[in-house]
């Protein structure tokens, strides 16, 4: 009789389950960490003694995972003192070098440490052209002059080129210093005194008297004149290769682990299929089907969810410059948001409110890879749309305007009704709550998933705005009914289908 040593199917299954569980857990841990979270953790825990690229109390941590084994790092960070005691040679060496024991961090999980390592592995972004302007020294007088210019003159003057008044660079060469003092302090009086030049300037500039500035002291005016003489120091920005955003290769110790795990699973599956045991084949098939179903379902649920959608717009408009740097209120441009269901893409006449006098960006302005030269062309696109003649400061006659075809970023399906004014005016919600940190975005991006669950999650968590008199009675009744102090939107009826679908 032949004795066949055969494992029972149950045993095999148990084994397999363990194997799979193990693979899954390791693959989870081995996953490459989250650098953003790592940065946070780094700042909270490590930054007191470490920097990325410099020795402080401890060694620089950049690329530390390349130097050390990950397991070694886990042990070291969690409790370095214990680790040294355990007799690890490397640990001892480090202690000898720095002589101070590192604070133990038992509270950090392996995942946290992975995150931190992901951060430390990242190369810090190069500061673009950081030193270029720093070397040129600016006279403090000129600096003061520039400040005064921006505060008092910039509404009507540019340094170069005419705005309402003439360009001011080099004005000191055209006029006498005393004359300029008199003119700036009270140009009307100067003109009345019969000064020929003053009259001529008045005539040349459309007979518009300049605002007098008696509040400026002589020193102030000297500073201004100094600025007019020198002008802005041009910073030469070299279009180095480093500026062009080349995607950085992320080196990660976790990456190869992933591949190993996948290969192991694949190998295992192949082995199972090749084996003569039918049961294994069935298990493998079921496993494949489940994995397939998981990914298919996940993929299907993602259809139509365009979170992160960031189309290239016809004009390289930067929300960062407008809402962030210049702190323009969102509703200055999106003025329908408080009245209407749509927030309203600003119409070109709203752009022109400011861009009549802002025809070019500051020298060091950058939007992505675009510098001043390209950005000025972008402003020109508005002018082309409405027919603005920026040289003569007036609209062209008989100009056929060209509408600007923006690309919609946030698209709700037709069957979902959403009203901005309900959320902005009635509820008083900040735009950023749904649209994200728009003031930091150059190119607008869909921040939220805009799915129904996302809407409802907020409706369930948000309380009714009690300042509104409409809610007074209904809120009182509802709070009694539900026995709560504050009623949520969902309790008010914000979960009903018909409130958004009709």
């Amino acid at each position: 009789m032949k004795i066949v040593n055969q494992h029972s199917p149950i045993q095999q299954l148990t084994k397999l389950t363990f194997v799979l569980l193990f693979i899954f857990s390791t693959s989870l841990f081995a996953q490459q960490g989250d650098a953003a979270n790592g940065k946070k953790l780094f700042k909270a825990n490590c930054a007191a003694c470490h920097k990325l690229d410099k020795k402080v109390l401890g060694p620089p941590l950049k690329g530390v995972s390349e130097k050390r084994d990950r397991k070694w790092l886990y042990s070291w960070i969690k409790n370095s003192a214990e680790f040294i005691k355990s007799g690890d040679a490397d640990a001892k060496a480090i202690f000898e070098e720095f002589k101070i024991p590192m604070t133990p961090f038992p509270q950090l999980s392996n995942k946290d440490i992975d995150d931190i390592l992901a951060y430390t592995d990242d190369k810090p972004a190069k500061k673009a052209a950081s030193g270029a302007g720093a070397s040129t020294k600016v006279d403090p007088k000129v600096k003061l002059g520039k400040k005064l210019f921006k505060a008092n003159c910039a509404a009507c003057h540019k340094m170069e080129g005419k705005l309402v008044g003439p360009g001011l660079k080099g004005v000191t060469e055209r006029r006498e210093k005393e004359w300029l003092h008199a003119w700036i302090k009270d140009n009307n009086a100067l003109r009345k005194s019969g000064d020929a030049i003053a009259k001529q300037v008045f005539e040349e500039n459309g007979k518009m008297p300049m605002t007098p500035f008696p509040q400026l002291s002589d020193d102030d005016i000297d500073a201004l004149l100094a600025y007019f003489k020198v002008g802005d120091v041009k910073k030469v920005v070299k279009n180095t290769a480093g500026v062009n955003t080349t995607k950085k290769e992320k080196k990660s110790s976790g990456a190869w682990m992933n591949w190993v795990v996948i290969l192991v699973i694949l190998g295992l599956l192949i082995w199972m299929f090749l084996s003569k045991v039918t049961f294994l084949k069935i298990i493998a098939t079921v496993f494949l089907l489940l994995v397939g179903a998981y990914f298919t379902f996940d993929w299907l649920m993602g259809i139509g969810v365009d979170q992160g959608y960031q189309p290239i717009q016809p004009i390289a408009f930067s929300h960062k410059i407008h809402a962030g740097d210049n702190k323009i209120d969102c509703q200055y441009c999106h003025s329908s948001a408080k009245h209407s269901k749509t927030s309203g893409v600003p119409t070109a006449n709203v752009c022109m409110n400011c861009h009549k006098s802002i025809s070019e960006v500051a020298d060091d302005t950058r939007v992505g890879a675009l510098g001043k030269e390209q950005l000025d062309k972008e402003i020109q696109k508005i002018y082309n749309a409405v027919g603005w003649d920026s040289d003569n400061m007036k609209y062209k006659e008989n100009y056929k305007p060209i509408p600007i075809k923006w690309i919609r970023v946030h698209n709700l399906p037709d069957f979902a009704y959403y009203n901005h004014s309900q959320h902005v005016t009635v509820a008083g919600i900040k735009c950023q709550k749904c649209h994200g940190p728009v003031e930091k975005m150059d190119e607008m991006k869909q921040h939220s998933p805009l799915t129904m669950r996302w809407c409802l999650d907020c409706h369930k968590a948000t309380d009714v705005n009690l300042d509104n008199k409409y809610y007074a009675k209904i809120h009182k009744q509802l709070s009694e009914k539900y026995g709560v102090e504050k009623v949520t939107i969902a309790q008010l009826g914000g979960k009903e289908c018909g409130k958004c679908h009709y």
Partner: protein, 1010 residues
């Protein structure tokens, strides 16, 4: 219920036909239209595509579709370059303006979204009473008619207006030099500024003449008024001041003398302090007015004339020449009631005969009627038939040098169309102003494309002393020019019509008052200085003997207009074509109305086919030598024996989309009312799109509810309006106590109810069109209507009942006589009519909600039964379980589908869609939402203004459109609201209350002052 009357919706049902039985038990009578996408059976069998192939295709297409779905479309958003100050995208603006197309006149408030008019609302603050009829409501869609004229034409070739004017002026000069007549043939415009312009034209061209022509003429009434009071106008009537109303052939709730009387009429139709008006109607075919009457008597057109004189004789005691009629007893009784009303009585007539109108005015004079206003007359029917006839003669005689036609389509509407066309050929210059290509534009040399009234400036004076302004609500869609602008150009006046209008108003009408205020309000009232008019004496003997000479024929013709199409101007409007006629419940057609007796005698039949649709015989109709071929026959209960009736406005072909070319043209017979009719049955059958047997309520009879005034006054509520009782533990209890369901908490926040007063609902169907416009309800076409797939969210059920009961027979002393036998055997010969608008009842215990497998329909706290279209998978269980048959299924994709080539299938027509309401796609259920988009907007408005919602602020499209105030809507949790007060009204009942659905729609029963 209260009475033991039997209600029926059709003759077939009355006769317990098996088809009705079958229909009442089937949910959807038609089979699922698999053929439409699979092809017919034969193709399927012979096809080389096997089932396996089919599955492969399905698999592939699914995969392909889902792959395609991964890539979302790039959607552009294009803002204004320079935003107009008063437009906020997403917020509607409202403009007061006036509609005046020569047939319909109304003060309206236009809802405009992003520069597109999308909805017509009545201007409730207007100084004259014309409400918005179904046609006025639908007129916004005519603006977006794809068939409109897009530029001026000269001999059918496009021409610009400069060349157009140059050629027209040179010809005008030649005509003027030859001293031939220049005739303006226009519909009634009632426009003070246009009249002034025409006067100025006459200064430049002294041979100019203005002939006013109404397609559906009221010339006789104007002639009569002119004969007595010297000016050409129509008396105005205030029916709210009348306790007894007798109408002989006047459809005053329809289009009689321009309409607009329903509000005053309804005011006195609800019993107040035990009193309400009594309305007696003598007429030929069942009209909307006859359907609302307390008593209705059928008379031939010729007999109506005798009846009128008999009524005069009975009231005044005089003996004018006349003949006997079958309804003389009723006439005598009516005369007594009229006299007893002590001045609170009125008699109106629609007989197109000057003599008859003279006698009617004499009757009102004799009654000292307070309801007639002879001073503030109506201006909206000024047509003069005699002058039109004279014009045709002169044209043919070659005396006319130029004919300029505006707001009229005489080639289509004139009975003497052939003579007119022949005459046109002899005229040197023919110009037509028209919005769409018409039968007339085909026959003239020059066509000036005119803008729709929503693109125009203008003014109209509906009644003397009230003025309305018309202002554009959208930029001109095409290269069009107003009639008035052309007149300015031809008279060499360089001002624009806007400035001309403004100047005219400032000097002639406003006299110092603000133009902007008048424009904002849309209307302006001038106090009329005259308070009386002095009559000339008229010899009534001459009038009466003229009437007495009328010949009575065996089969007489009557002509009428329908609520949907009216005079046929808007025949290319799919909303109006699809609107079921309130009486016949048939859409997409006109037909020859025949009485039961005549149909039986001539062997004409209507029959209901297996799928519930109605078919009928075809006949050729000949009246005095004019024949109309292939007219379908519709057997109409209540039609006078020995009469047939045909509706105007159909059978147009020019400028009409193929789908809208329905019915036959009855205009060749328009001047032959009362003429001798011969009908010959011809081969073939006609398929009607009749909805009357559809959506039956499963044989549940207790649906409409009515009572008599006597019962209402003398009996207790439990007797005339009992609430259903149930037995619980052997005790009789009310519905509330036998509830199977858990009570829904409806006490918090607004809880909406809609109330419909059947006493004041005239069945005018304005609400149906308003609902169409507000909710993007699709038009499905005749074929689909025939198989019960109409999409109307709101239908107006029409029930017939017979008033002849044994008690009544005894009272009238006819029991045992042949008359009683006749009335008992054929109750459909003299039926009473009840209208009942039915929409989703928004049940608090909704049967539809519990059966939906995907929870697509659910209940809101505000009382609305909500329908999430995107969730619906189309099982139709809900429709199956709805006792009210109000759910509508999208059997097809009705938008952007060339199979349904109506307004939703072209870019222009889609501009009318309400952007706040989704267009439903194929395979989902839809129904009345109680205008949730409107209630939500009202609430949001209150929130934004930081206040509670005001009383009366909530509205739905149907309540807004209702001219009589029969419909009201509001929050029952606010005691101040009308609907809250109506909850416990004695007349209030709920539809099928015993089912226990707890509807949020309530009805007030009709009270008949019989």
């Amino acid at each position: 219920m209260a009475s033991n009357k039997k209600y029926w919706t059709s003759a077939a049902e009355l006769k317990n036909s098996s088809i009705v039985e079958k229909l009442s038990k089937t949910e959807f009578v038609g089979e699922i239209p698999t053929d439409a996408f699979l092809g017919d059976k034969e193709t399927l069998e012979t096809s080389s595509t096997s089932r396996r192939d089919f599955l492969k295709y399905v698999g592939f297409t699914t995969a392909a579709a889902s792959l395609a779905a991964c890539e979302g479309p790039v959607i552009k958003t294009i803002p204004y370059l320079n935003k107009p100050n008063d437009i906020i995208p997403g917020v509607a603006d409202y403009y007061a303006t006036a509609m005046a197309d020569g047939y319909d006149f109304a003060n309206v408030l236009v809802k405009v979204r992003e520069g597109r008019p999308i909805k017509i609302n009545p201007n409730k603050e207007a100084t004259s009473d014309n409400g918005t009829s179904a046609r006025v409501q639908a007129s916004v869609l005519s603006l977006y008619d794809n068939n409109r004229l897009k530029s001026a034409l000269n001999n059918k070739k496009a021409i610009n207006y400069t060349d157009f004017d140059r050629e027209v002026i040179s010809k005008l000069d030649q005509v003027s030099a030859s001293e031939k007549k220049i005739v303006f043939l226009t519909g009634t415009m009632a426009s003070p500024s246009t009249d002034k312009l025409l006067a100025e034209f006459k200064v430049k061209y002294p041979t100019a003449e203005h002939v006013v022509y109404d397609a559906v003429s009221e010339s006789a009434a104007a002639d009569a008024y002119e004969a007595i009071y010297g000016t050409r106008a129509l008396p105005n009537y205030d029916f709210s001041k009348a306790d007894v109303i007798v109408s002989i052939g006047a459809d005053f709730l329809g289009d009689w003398q321009g309409g607009g009387y329903e509000k005053g009429y309804a005011a006195n139709r609800v019993p107040k302090h035990g009193k309400m008006s009594k309305h007696i109607q003598f007429e030929t075919n069942m009209s909307l007015t006859g359907a609302n009457a307390d008593q209705r008597f059928a008379l031939k057109p010729s007999e109506q004339k005798f009846a009128l004189v008999n009524l005069y004789n009975a009231i005044t005691g005089q003996g004018l020449a006349s003949k006997a009629t079958p309804q003389d007893a009723a006439i005598k009784k009516a005369a007594t009631q009229l006299k007893a009303a002590n001045g609170k009585a009125v008699v109106v007539t629609g007989i197109q005969d000057k003599s008859a109108q003279l006698i009617a005015m004499a009757i009102n004079d004799a009654l000292q009627s307070q309801a007639v206003d002879l001073v503030n007359t109506k201006n909206i029917r000024k047509g003069n038939d005699a002058k039109v006839a004279q014009l045709i003669t002169e044209m043919n005689a070659g005396n006319v040098g130029a004919v300029i036609i505006n707001q009229a389509n005489p080639v289509y509407t004139l009975a003497q169309s052939k003579e007119f066309v022949a005459g046109l050929k002899k005229v040197k210059l023919t110009v037509a102003f028209a919005m769409t290509p018409t039968e007339t534009t085909k026959e003239v040399q020059f066509v000036n494309a005119t803008p729709h009234y929503l693109e125009s400036w203008g003014d109209v004076s509906i009644t003397k002393g009230t003025y309305s302004l018309m202002q554009p609500t959208i930029n001109k869609l095409f290269d069009t020019r107003q009639f008035q602008e052309a007149l300015l150009a031809w008279t060499g006046n360089p001002t624009s019509y806007y400035n001309y209008l403004k100047n005219t108003w400032n000097t002639d009408i406003l006299k110092g008052q603000s133009w902007n205020t008048a424009l904002h309000n849309g209307t302006f009232k001038v106090a009329n200085e005259e308070t009386t008019v002095t009559p000339n004496t008229v010899d009534l003997n001459v009038a009466a003997s003229a009437l007495a000479k009328t010949k009575t024929n065996a089969l007489e013709l009557a002509i009428y207009t329908k609520v949907g199409l009216g005079d046929g101007q808007q025949a290319n409007n799919p909303w109006l074509q699809e609107l079921p006629d309130p009486i016949t419940r048939t859409s997409w057609d006109n037909y020859l109305l025949v009485s039961r007796a005549d149909a039986e005698a001539k062997g004409l039949k209507n029959w209901t086919v297996d799928n519930g649709a109605l078919n009928g015989d075809l006949v050729d109709v000949t009246v005095d030598g004019v024949t109309i071929k292939n007219v379908p026959v519709y057997i109409q209960p209540g039609q006078a024996k020995g009469t047939v009736a045909l509706a105007l406005g159909y059978g147009r072909t020019e400028g009409m989309q193929k789908e809208m070319q329905t019915g036959v043209n009855a205009y060749p017979l328009v001047n032959k009312v009362g003429g001798n009719v011969t009908i010959t049955k011809v081969a073939g059958e006609h398929q009607f799109a009749c909805v009357q047997l559809q959506h039956t309520m499963m044989g549940r009879d207790e649906i409409v509810n009515e009572t008599s005034l006597a019962d209402f006054i003398n009996k207790k509520k439990e007797e005339y309006n009992p609430s259903p009782k149930f037995s619980l533990d052997h005790k009789e209890v009310s519905v509330a106590e036998t509830d199977l369901w858990e009570k829904f908490d409806d006490t918090i926040g607004p809880h909406f109810n809609l109330s419909i007063d059947l006493a004041t609902c005239t069945g005018c169907a304005a609400c149906v069109v308003a609902c169409h416009a507000e909710n993007n309800v699709p038009v499905v076409g005749k074929k689909e209507i025939r198989v019960s797939r109409d999409m109307h969210w709101l239908r107006i059920d029409r029930y017939y009942t017979s008033e002849m009961t044994k008690e009544k027979g005894e009272e009238e002393g006819i029991v045992g006589s042949g008359k009683y036998f006749e009335a008992q055997t054929h109750p459909e010969d003299q039926p009473e009519v009840s209208f009942q608008p039915v929409m989703c009842q928004h049940c608090n215990h909704a049967p539809c909600e519990t059966v939906c497998p995907v929870a697509a329909t659910s209940h809101g706290r505000q009382g609305q039964n909500q329908m999430a279209y995107n969730r619906c998978v189309g099982t139709r269980y809900c429709a199956n379980n709805c006792p009210y048959r109000v759910r509508r299924f999208n059997w097809f994709q009705y938008a952007q589908n060339s199979e349904f080539n109506f307004n939703m299938n072209n870019d222009l027509g889609r501009m009318v869609l309400n952007p706040d309401v989704v267009v439903r796609s194929r395979g989902v259920m839809e129904k009345c939402s109680m205008c949730i988009q409107m209630t939500q907007a009202t609430i949001l408005k209150a929130k934004k203004e930081n206040r509670p919602v005001n009383v009366g602020e909530f509205e739905t499209a149907c309540t807004n459109a209702c001219s009589t105030g029969a419909m009201s809507f509001g929050d029952v949790n606010n005691e101040e609201e009308k609907v809250a007060k109506l909850q416990d009204d004695n007349r209030t009942f709920r539809l099928l209350e015993f089912v226990g659905t707890k509807p949020n729609v309530i009805y007030q029963l009709k009270v008949r002052n019989a």
